[in-house]
């Protein structure tokens, strides 16, 4: 059933655009340009994080650390996700390469990646927009939400894996 969701979604978008007589092709091309720019912008972060996580893996430093019975690879993702979308995407790809997307680690990484935001990054750009420095309350509340998501994701992943 769920495999119909994505095609249906794309179908609805295109049909809505057709009904509203919007120039679909040009908008798609413009969107691709925006996407290319995004890739260009996140590439340095992905590169930097891949080097670092490669070093951590190959030297075997984190091999002995376990958190909630999860192998060391998950910990960097949990720490990185609130800071940078590009870098955490790089870490997710690493995890998929190593364990596969349907393993416990792969599912957990997918859940964390899709159900939390880059909390600290979002707060920092909003803070600079309104020039208010005291962001204690939003940071605490945002991180409480993230921690809830992590705990819940562990439980759910254990059930569905």
């Amino acid at each position: 059933m769920s495999s119909y969701i994505i095609p249906t979604f794309v179908l609805i978008v295109i049909i809505t655009a057709l009904i509203e007589k919007i120039n679909i092709y040009n908008l798609f091309i413009d969107g691709i340009k925006i996407g290319l720019k995004t890739v260009y912008n996140i590439f340095p972060y992905i590169f930097a994080i891949t080097i670092i996580s490669g070093l951590i893996n190959d030297t075997g430093i984190l091999n002995n650390i376990k958190l909630f019975n999860i192998q060391g690879d998950i910990l960097p993702l949990i720490l990185m996700k609130p800071l940078s979308g590009g870098a955490s995407t790089g870490l997710v790809v690493d995890i998929f390469n190593k364990y596969g997307p349907d393993s416990f680690n792969g599912l957990f990484a997918s859940l964390i990646m899709a159900s939390t935001e880059t909390t600290l990054y979002v707060i920092s750009i909003m803070s600079s927009k309104v020039k208010i420095k005291d962001m204690k309350l939003p940071i605490i509340c945002g991180l409480i939400g993230d921690i809830t998501a992590i705990i819940l994701a562990v439980i759910i992943t254990k059930i569905i894996v």
Partner: protein
């Protein structure tokens, strides 16, 4: 960030030298560089397609229709005297684009929204409650269909890439509620 990055680098190199395997460092770096390029190609292939689709979506009337409905759902979170008509518009567009997953529109409207809220903020040095609520809405994930994550899973030959849809909705919904409740509790304590 640069401290963390350099610290990890230094620790790893020192660790490799201590454990008598200094050659792992250069092997690791060359391998990782290759991996980074491959990873980016993979990420680009799903990101660029969805960027195109979402650009079409953000130009249909779906966004504005949804945004009108969304404000009614979320309006109880905001204080009436802290919110102007214009900020109402940006906030509802921001919520709608977050739910649909239109990242670019969400970012633009979040910045415009917080700026408008600041205009009607009495004490410019301090966040008012509506601003904290608005930030909390943006630090939680609200996307209903995690399209890019599903594509990424499919690219790595997942047996069931869509398996995450329901779990993602549950996790993001609960964490959003918890985050909003903590805003309310901590705000009262603050005052």
């Amino acid at each position: 960030m640069s401290i963390i990055w350099s610290l990890i680098f230094v620790i790893c190199i020192v660790f490799a030298c201590i454990s008598n395997e200094p050659s792992t460092v250069i092997d690791s770096i060359t391998n990782s560089s290759k991996n980074a390029i491959e990873n980016v190609v993979v990420i680009a292939s799903m990101l660029i397609f969805w960027s195109g689709i979402f650009n079409i979506l953000s130009n249909t009337s779906a966004l504005s229709k949804l945004s009108k409905k969304m404000y009614n759902v979320f309006s109880f979170l905001f204080k009436k005297d802290e919110i102007s008509e214009k900020s109402k518009e940006y906030i509802s567009l921001n919520i709608a684009s977050n739910i649909l997953g239109v990242g670019n529109a969400a970012t633009i409207n979040s910045l415009n929204g917080i700026e408008e809220l600041q205009k009607s903020n009495r004490n410019k040095e301090r966040l008012n409650k509506s601003m904290v609520v608005f930030i909390a809405l943006n630090t939680a994930s609200m996307q209903i269909i995690p399209t890019s994550m599903i594509s990424l899973r499919a690219l790595y030959n997942s047996q069931n890439p869509e398996k995450i849809i329901l779990p993602v909705i549950i996790v993001s919904f609960v964490s959003l509620i918890v985050s909003l409740i903590s805003v309310n509790l901590l705000w009262r304590k603050n005052e």
